[in-house]
Subunit: 201 residues, 2 copies
Amino acid sequence: MNTKYPETLENLIDSFGKLPGVGRKTAERYALYVFMHMKDEDITDFSNALLSLHTDIHICESCGNISEGNICKICSDSSRNHRQVLVVESIKDLITLEKVNEYKGIYHVLNGSISFSKGISIDDLNIDSLMEKVKGGEVDEIILATNATLEGETTAKYLKELLKSYDVKVTRIAHGLPVGGDISYLDELTLLKAFEGRREY
Amino acid sequence: MNTKYPETLENLIDSFGKLPGVGRKTAERYALYVFMHMKDEDITDFSNALLSLHTDIHICESCGNISEGNICKICSDSSRNHRQVLVVESIKDLITLEKVNEYKGIYHVLNGSISFSKGISIDDLNIDSLMEKVKGGEVDEIILATNATLEGETTAKYLKELLKSYDVKVTRIAHGLPVGGDISYLDELTLLKAFEGRREY
């Protein structure tokens, strides 16, 4: 009986199977596709991109964004308003918002949202460096741009609670964001409206 | 404006984007997941599995199956009946059929099926080594186990036409295979019935 693929291919299937939402069938499809149809050059590039991931890029110590150095391009940009901080759940949301090319403050990436079902509390989120900036009086406005989901709204409420004893204006991105929606799937115009229509929170 | 990810991550997104059915959004999700959540060790394994793919495994010269040597385990197995050849569209189908653990002949992988819409003709399929075996009088029965799709049925008809001038019995896997169905998604019992119920073609 030969019900398995050769070991090398099984290893690759296992690796693809670790990706989010990828089951055995999809992992097999990906691995066989790479083996049958991808050029050697493309496979080498793929392999190298994986290897250089953790050596070439890092998490910005200041905001949690993805970065080539210790501090990301946005946090290093002195032309931006460092007293205005837009808080997002993920790097993907940051990139999506940045595409609007309208916002000139800085960001803060929570790297998640509070979820009782998944057991993720406020302590599991990246908030220390944000709170330090607030405590140090470095911030005028915090714009909460967490998703319009249960988790995103809960996170926004917790953050508002945490921030209320400090002298900082807290706003919530609002208009145009459909309830249950995911920021990274929004079009730029809707995002722009959501940004302009932000209100005191 | 910082609408792109760092180059290393963009490279990885590009690589994931080359996989079948993976668009930009999914590729981003995979790449960010690898960066944020995968352990260094798992990334190294992933990278190595990709690199060793084309050095460690090959296509069997005899049947088109995936193989660690020039000839696959099934074709090298003298306890199997080499005069009975089961023809499948893909390696995935071969692996699925082999799981039934009932068939004791050998296989032949076409690596595709005839598709007028995609411009794939019989000449694009892996049939040379099969025809050589038939011409050499090495085969008693050819079981056509292409999918029950338009492409699979067309391919079966073309093969039957090609084989009719030779002294070889041509059968078609049949009962239990739902019309429009894909062999690699079938359960083992249905496959067993389909195999037992094969008829002259």
